[in-house]
């Protein structure tokens, strides 16, 4: 029974990855490239020791974005606003970090908490609109993402909160003092962010809260059926609002590792598009903290390996297309699997009822 359950859990993501590999292979064949040697190239380059550290660092950010999305999904909330939440959060965290000079044990928590608070605050706008005004969080978050970009670009101008670097024209926030830098671990010739510990902690807390607390139970119940949860005394609208804020707080952590251990400031070079990635990873990992971790590493791996393709005459955009197909194929295969399972269950129930009726009939005829 357990083996069967694992089979049904894994079949969807595996099918999705296979489908997308086939799709990319077809594109590669059009381009007269050998799919097998291309994939081999991706794998051998991606697993080079020098790249693994960079991939792990990227995994930390993706993982946090994935968990932020997953906690929303548990409540049927589609937090497409992770992008805006994360960028606004890391921007303000970098500003706060750059303008304070505290000892490390205060400075680092200050920056991290600022990021979480800003992320939560920005997300709670969407949460408020959802609960009080019944506005889809997808629409309001798309708008909020665009507004966040505008606010950051406005505030990043020299003379407001940003400065121009001494050697470059890139706008950035002032550099965070050394006491706010987070140490890194040297391995394989790379620098691994210690912020990974926070990411792991977030994963563990996520699992505990969801599975071992009343709050987590209420959250899952509200996600399964808003009306039923409400009828049984859960303050469902409040749960929606809180979940959105928590999701935003975790989203706020997404960029902190990079900021504290590498760039030590915020600039427009910080990547965009974490929302879509986070949602994709949560879907791929089935909102499971370990599943999301694998998915995040896979994503980071693909993206790190992409540039090698260009050097071999294959456009690296196929990685983007592969990601798109993986998302679509994952969701589609989950839906198909869900329906197959449902049909099986119905059959099971149906046949059980028939045997019940039959046994009754035989009993009655015996009497």
């Amino acid at each position: 029974m357990k083996a069967k359950k694992i089979f049904w859990t894994l079949i969807a993501p595996v099918a999705a990855i296979v489908i997308s590999f086939i799709f990319v292979s077809i594109i590669l064949l059009f381009k007269h490239a050998n799919p097998f040697s291309t994939f081999q190239l991706i794998f051998s380059y991606g697993f080079q020791p020098g790249n693994i550290v960079a991939e792990l660092n990227q995994t930390i950010a993706y993982y946090l974005a994935g968990i932020a999305a997953a906690i929303g999904f548990k409540m049927l909330l589609f937090n497409i606003g992770i992008d805006g939440q994360y960028r606004l959060a890391i921007f303000f965290a970098a500003v706060v970090g750059g303008s304070t000079h505290l000892p490390s044990f205060l400075e680092i928590p200050l920056i991290v908490i600022t990021a979480m608070v800003v992320g939560a605050a920005w997300a709670s706008i969407a949460g408020y609109l959802k609960v009080k005004k019944n506005i889809s969080e997808v629409i309001s978050n798309i708008m909020l993402n665009a507004i966040a970009s505008g606010i950051i670009i406005y505030l990043l101008q020299p003379g407001r909160l940003g400065t121009k670097g001494p050697h470059s024209d890139n706008l950035a926030t002032p550099t965070i003092p050394k006491s706010g830098w987070m140490p890194t671990i040297s391995m394989f010739g790379g620098q691994l962010y210690t912020f990974g510990i926070v990411a792991i902690a977030v994963g563990v807390i996520y699992w505990i809260i969801l599975n071992k607390t009343v709050f987590g139970f209420n959250l899952r119940a509200t996600g399964l059926s808003f009306r039923a949860a409400r009828a049984s005394g859960v303050n469902a609208p409040r749960m929606v609002f809180i979940t959105m804020a928590i999701s935003g707080a975790i989203a706020g952590l997404t960029g902190v590792g990079e900021c504290l251990s590498e760039t030590h400031n915020y600039s427009l070079a910080f990547p965009e598009g974490y929302a879509l990635t986070g949602l994709a990873l949560a879907l791929l990992g089935r909102n499971n903290p370990i599943g999301v971790a694998f998915a995040a590493f896979f994503w980071a791996f693909l993206e790190r390996a992409a540039p090698i393709l260009d050097l071999n005459g294959i456009p690296n955009e196929i990685v983007l297309m592969m990601e798109g197909t993986i998302i679509l194929a994952t969701v589609a295969s989950y839906e198909v699997v869900k329906r197959i399972n449902k049909r099986q269950q119905q059959k099971l129930v149906g046949s059980a009822q028939i045997t019940n009726v039959e046994s009754k009939v035989t009993k009655e005829s015996a009497v």
Binding site: K133, V138, I142, M143, I147, G150, L320, G324, V331, A332
Partner: protein, 414 residues
């Protein structure tokens, strides 16, 4: 229900004559603003031309959104379809001329939309996931295809396509110089109307005209044909529609395909008419703005025209002269104050005060600053939509089942 009847905005949008009156009122207001601030560019022929150029792509995206959402499918992939449209329009436009470019964008958009339709209608996956994945797929594909097809061509690279032959334009002779002449005199209202008309009749692009006509055409199909009635029915209550013998799957498939095709046309317009070649990232979020225009316009054709026009206008004014946007703040001041006054009749004192405070704050901003920062203008459409959503959400009437998956033979859950 009483809200719907008493709301002045809804009442105005209800009847065509009142809608026309509202547009006239807007023109009078804008011309007063121009007179008061002395920013003559607001109603110049050039600004109007630019506004049309910026409005059409947004309008196409919004129309695409309207078709899909009225049938019950939310199409967040509009941006992606526009991106596909820019590439197909540019490549086939370069090979066979602009008209073939538009046509192939139309077809490509419709065919790619089959994917969105299949995933959301038949399989029933989350419509937002599908739409977002299509956006990702479109960005990747366009870059990939541009790299394969455009590089090595004259003036072509992975980011730019070779130039497309421009589409013939026509100017209404006699009328255009005459109107422009009046417009330059800056007489209150008369010059403004002349300027706007001059912008409309000067250098008219056949494509702009044809694409614009898609709006009344769609409105006619959706509200005055049997097919349109069925389609809107599928968006409101698919279970009931199915029980009356309407094929919900097929209806939604068609609607989503039309949606993708129209959005792709908007993208092709950007490549062929606005710039004359494909530029990477030239859609620049217009698909999302189109989505916003649908909400802003309360899922009504006249409303989405107003929304697209407003967003197109701010875009155009930003590009031409940012002081114009600053002048338009006065418009916001007057309109919020006027909306506040309508609350007196309902004795909604809180609403009155809120509107007056907003109006006062905007006025204060207008008086203190001499221009609006460009960064704010870029997110103006998004902010407007968010505010409209927040304040008028009770009065908005989206299709009841837009976004909810529907499986034949099952009650669709909310």
């Amino acid at each position: 229900m009483s809200n719907l009847k008493t709301n002045p905005i809804v009442r105005i949008l209800r009847s065509p004559s009142r809608t026309a009156l509202a547009w006239v009122g807007m023109i009078v207001l804008i011309s007063l603003v121009r007179e008061f601030t002395g920013v003559n560019d607001i109603t110049s022929a050039g600004a109007m031309e630019a506004t049309i150029r910026f409005t059409i792509p947004i309008l196409m995206a919004a129309l695409g959104g309207l078709w899909a959402e009225r049938s019950g499918i939310i199409n967040i992939g509009l941006e992606g379809f526009m991106i596909f449209g820019t590439w197909f329009g540019a490549w086939f436009g370069f090979l066979f001329g602009p008209w073939i470019g538009l046509l192939s964008a139309l077809l490509a958009g419709g065919i790619i939309a089959l994917l969105h339709a299949f995933l959301t209608v038949r399989i029933g996956i989350d419509q937002a996931v599908s739409g977002l994945a299509i956006n990702l797929l479109a960005a990747g594909s366009a870059r990939y295809l541009a790299g394969v097809f455009f590089t090595g061509r004259p003036n072509g690279s992975i980011q730019v396509s070779p130039p497309i032959n421009s589409i013939s334009q026509f100017t209404v002779h006699g009328l255009s110089p005459f109107l422009s002449h009046i417009a330059e005199k800056h007489i209150l209202i008369i010059s403004d109307v002349a300027g706007i008309l001059a912008g409309i009749v000067t250098g008219v692009n056949w494509v702009s005209l044809m694409l614009f006509l898609l709006l009344p055409f769609s409105a006619w199909i959706l509200w005055h044909t049997k097919y349109g009635l069925r389609m809107r029915f599928c968006g409101e209550n698919p279970v009931a529609a199915e029980s009356l013998g309407i094929n919900v799957y097929r209806t939604r498939f068609i609607a989503v395909c039309v949606s993708g095709a129209i959005a792709a046309l908007g993208g092709a317009y950007l490549a062929i008419v606005s710039t004359g070649n494909y530029l990477e990232g030239q859609t620049n979020g217009r698909g999302y703005i189109g989505l916003a225009a649908v909400i802003f316009g309360n899922w009504q054709p006249s409303g989405i025209l107003a929304g697209s026009f407003l967003f197109g206008l701010t875009d155009a004014l930003r590009v031409r002269q940012s002081t114009s946007v600053h002048a338009l703040l006065i418009l916001v001041v007057v309109l919020t104050a006027a909306y506040g006054l309508t609350k007196i009749k309902k004795k909604d004192w809180k609403g009155l005060i809120t509107n007056f405070v907003i109006s006062g704050l905007v006025l204060a901003y207008f008086l203190i600053n001499s221009r609006v920062p460009d960064e704010f203008v870029t997110f103006f459409p998004y902010l407007t939509t968010l505010i409209v959503l927040a304040f008028l959400s009770q009065r908005l009437r989206p299709p009841a089942m837009a976004g909810a998956p529907y499986h034949k033979g099952e009650e669709s859950g909310v």
